[in-house]
């Protein structure tokens, strides 16, 4: 079953690495309430676990205690687990039917990595994929270092209160409210969708989905959720981490310029490169309306589809940059936001921390 959805997204980052509580981003989702329908909301915060910054933070849903025990035993076979605890939540009438929500700070055992001849990130990614595909009732919904996603069935502003995001501090935040036209309302299905430190919030419905999915699954990714966001996350992980593309290069694969634009590019290396990337990765072109915000260790990237079929605006104030589906959301975070502009289709907006800022 494929789940089409329309959504609201918002994001903020401090370029100087100043840490902000999750309060502002929760507020930002309020004016866009009508874009969600209470069936899913979520947030990602970066720089929120400074005390455990060298460990992968696994955020997990479990259906019962037994599954949790089993999963913990499985993790301990190949990871050092330095801490495992319930993620603190607030009981509230707006959020019900919660699964068991737990987090672990882990690092893969050197001996295991040496045995498998895998680099650390690849091993972590494979473990996450394995748990999500093979372990019934267990689901890893966040797996990066010094970052975390928080998501649930409900309106995004309630989800933020539920997870007590006002008590976390991070240098960047992304948020998502989902308007699925057809969903069973499973917690794992909410956004952001993540793998390692990449998190994606996405507004739109992509028409290239199955072409993208069937291609990316050749490289060990398993799309279990049948949502656009999941496949976009895997594509970005594949292009950036595994193929070593820069953010801009990855953007020029998924929102590739039209051939006519490429032919008119004057810089000859640029032209050759665009032509090359489009020829090598035709199956990773994403068509249909989308606006996405990719969160990663040290920055954010916002990107629209090449026809710009979904709204997205960017604004700035001092050290902070704001991104949202609607200007109103930016105004809530910062009434005096300046330089509000709408990036054109296929043009990535990349904001990174100043050197050594965090």
């Amino acid at each position: 079953m494929r789940i089409p959805s329309g959504c609201a997204i918002a994001a903020v980052i401090s370029r100087t690495g100043r840490r902000m509580t999750g309060g502002a981003i929760m507020e930002a989702m309020k004016p866009m309430h009508d874009r969600s329908n209470g069936l899913g909301g979520g947030f990602a915060g970066y720089g929120i676990y400074p005390d455990y910054k060298d460990f992968y933070a696994f955020h997990m849903f479990f259906d019962c205690r037994d599954t949790r025990k089993k999963c913990e035993a499985f993790l301990k076979e190949s990871f050092e687990v330095v801490k495992g605890e319930l993620i603190p939540t607030r009981k509230m009438p707006e959020i019900t039917d919660e699964p068991i929500i737990w987090r672990y700070f882990v690092t893969p055992l050197r001996s295991v990595l040496a045995d498998l001849q895998l680099d650390e990130k690849e091993f972590v990614a494979r473990t996450v994929m394995k748990i999500n595909v093979e372990m019934n009732g267990a689901y890893v919904f966040s797996s990066g270092k010094n970052m975390g996603t928080f998501k649930a069935v409900g309106f995004p502003e309630d989800v933020g209160v539920f997870y007590r995001l006002d008590e976390y501090e991070g240098y960047s935040w992304t948020a998502h409210g989902r308007y699925p036209t057809n969903t069973p309302g499973w917690w794992g299905g909410a956004h952001p969708f993540t793998l390692l430190d990449y998190s994606v919030v996405h507004n739109g419905e992509i028409s290239s989905y199955d072409a993208n999915r069937r291609y990316i699954e050749m490289f060990g990714y398993k799309c279990t959720l049948q949502t656009d966001t999941e496949v976009i996350t895997y594509i970005l992980d594949y292009l950036i981490r595994r193929q070593g593309l820069t953010l801009t290069e990855a953007a020029s694969v998924i929102a590739a310029p039209f051939w006519s634009t490429i032919e008119n590019t004057t810089n000859s290396y640029e032209k050759e490169k665009l032509r090359y990337l489009r020829t090598v990765f035709p199956s990773l072109l994403i068509t249909g309306p989308f606006s996405i915000v990719l969160g990663f260790d040290g920055g954010l990237m916002a990107l629209n589809d090449r026809l710009k079929l979904r709204s997205m605006v960017v604004g700035e104030k001092d050290d902070r940059v704001f991104i949202a589906s609607e200007e109103a959301a930016i105004r809530v975070m910062e009434p005096d936001a300046e330089k509000i502009w709408a990036p054109s289709g296929g043009e990535p907006v990349i904001v990174t921390l100043k050197e050594g800022a965090f």
């Binding site: 959805s5 072409a211 039209f258 035709p282 072109l285």
Partner: protein, 501 residues
């Protein structure tokens, strides 16, 4: 007569109120059906020779003619059908293998017709191809599996040789010899104008057509007719023909009567000698041997030309394709069992091979399961009849389609299925100069360009309806397809859901 007599299949119906005895039909019919009776002062016909090619009907200035199926039939029998019985009579008369041409006409399932295409509504906007750019270009060839950078950090942009097509369609192999000089000229000129490729087939390349090299696939088949170094380097790609959908497992036979003049020179064989291509390539008895041929062709062309390996769709096509994908080939062309031919044994044409839809779905899946889909591009042929078939093939996983019969129809072919006789009244499947000149390459190429331009518009319109603005986002996008009236197994092989799911 007597026991050998078979009542003619067609009747020539002439409306004598309209017939002015201008004798056009007589001049037009190479089968010598029509003649003028001086004695009676009227046109009469020997309908036993008529093949229903519609030439006389199309050219009769007073519309006095029509050809109808004869209603003189044997007693009806669901098991022993008319054709079956007549074929037995023919074989009892001749003692020979029955020959046919063009594709399998039997009522076997056409899966294209049981697959429906999606369109966007509400949640995802359709795109108007008249207002927004809509891209149909494709590149066929091996794609590198790793991005590499130089010391300066720049991406190394060298690609293995690629075939660039302005739309995912090529004209498939039809040899000079089996079809006429003018038919080849039309195909070559149309391919050049359209920015696509046509294919020489196994008969070599006439010297006049070297100038269309950038839009030519040069074929190397088991007979190796007309193959030499300049030929290999003349085209944009080289195709090794291992098999043909209409006659998997057997070679080809062009009768000596067609090996005249330029045809004999181009094939590099003596005039009037039968051109027989053996069933196997005599240097290929395994996949390793194929690899050697692929690389010898690449050596001969300095690794500048992509190599296509064309195979017939047979039972274990997925495993075969997986072998080819590892043989160094850049493109695999799969020819389905409904593919056309200039001549094939009837029994083989009608009973050997499998539908290309199923073969394509199985191969695309297999190559993805093995993670080697990027090693090769997939081209499918064997009765691609319309833009809708192209869309469905691409969504199932093809990079491009081969069309031949549709192209011949554009040139005037009326599918009389008697190409093997060499008396094609439309100037296509013939070498008789008086017939060949009936096909004017100026008109022929213009009609081919029209046909493909129309298909391109339709492809763009259907893509736009799905909210897709570039053909690569459609390739392998099986979610855009639904089956109707297919059973679980068929859906499973096609990898699509049933309508309503």
């Amino acid at each position: 007569m007597g026991v050998e007599f078979i009542y003619p299949e067609f009747e020539v119906v002439r409306n004598y109120d309209r017939c002015i005895a201008c004798r056009v039909c007589e001049r037009q019919c190479a089968n010598e059906v029509h003649f003028y009776s001086e004695e009676r002062g009227v046109m009469i016909s020997d309908e036993a020779k008529c093949v229903d090619c519609q030439r006389c009907v199309s050219l009769c200035p007073t519309r006095a003619l029509k050809i109808v199926k004869s209603d003189s039939t044997l007693r009806e029998n669901a098991n022993w059908q008319n054709d079956t019985i007549k074929e037995i009579y023919k074989q009892a008369n001749s003692g020979g293998v029955l020959l046919s041409s063009m594709g399998n006409p039997k009522p076997l399932p056409v899966y294209w017709d049981k697959i429906l295409i999606n369109a966007s509504q509400v949640t995802n906007p359709p795109i108007d191809p008249l207002r927004e750019p809509m891209e149909t270009q494709v590149f066929l060839g091996k794609k590198p599996s790793r991005i590499e950078r130089g010391k300066d950090g720049k991406i190394k942009c060298e690609l293995p040789p690629q075939i660039a097509l302005s739309l995912p369609v090529m004209f498939s192999a039809m040899s000079y010899g089996s079809i006429s000089y003018n038919a080849h000229a039309s195909l070559a000129r149309a391919a050049t104008e359209l920015g696509i490729l046509y294919n020489t087939g196994e008969g070599g390349l006439h010297e006049d057509f070297y100038k269309y090299g950038k839009n030519t696939v040069v074929q190397v088949a088991s007979g190796r007719f007309g193959v030499h170094e300049d030929y290999l380097n003349a085209g944009a790609a080289i195709e090794i023909k291992m098999g043909q959908g209409a006659k998997p497992g057997i070679g080809g036979h062009l009768p000596g009567a067609k090996i005249v003049g330029d045809v004999s020179r181009t094939r590099m064989i003596p005039e009037r000698s039968d051109a027989i291509s053996p069933a196997p390539h005599h240097d290929i008895y395994s996949i390793e041997d194929l690899r050697q041929l692929v690389f010898s062709l690449k050596e001969a062309t300095q690794y500048k030309k992509p190599v296509i390996v064309k195979v017939a769709a047979v039972h274990n096509i997925a495993a075969i394709a997986s072998g080819i994908a590892r043989s160094g080939a850049d493109v695999i062309a799969i020819d389905g069992f409904r593919g056309g031919t200039g001549a094939a044994p009837t029994r083989i044409r009608d009973n050997v091979g499998i539908p290309v839809e199923l073969a394509l779905a199985a191969v695309d899946k297999r190559l993805r399961d093995e993670g080697i889909r990027g090693n090769v591009s997939l081209v499918v042929g064997g009765s691609i009849r319309s833009a809708a078939d192209v869309i469905k093939a691409v969504a199932l996983g093809a990079d491009a389609c081969y069309v031949a019969t549709a192209a011949l129809l554009a040139l005037g072919c009326h599918l009389c299925r008697t190409c093997q006789s060499g008396k094609c009244n439309w100037g296509i499947a013939t070498q008789r100069p008086d017939l060949v000149k009936r096909l004017n390459p100026d008109i022929g190429s213009a009609r081919l360009v029209n046909l493909m331009t129309a298909w391109r518009h339709e492809i763009m319109e259907i893509m736009g309806g799905m909210g897709i603005n570039s053909i690569e986002a459609l390739r392998g996008n099986r979610l855009m397809l639904r089956g109707v009236g297919l059973n679980e197994k068929e859906l499973e092989i096609l990898g699509i859901s049933h309508a309503g799911e």
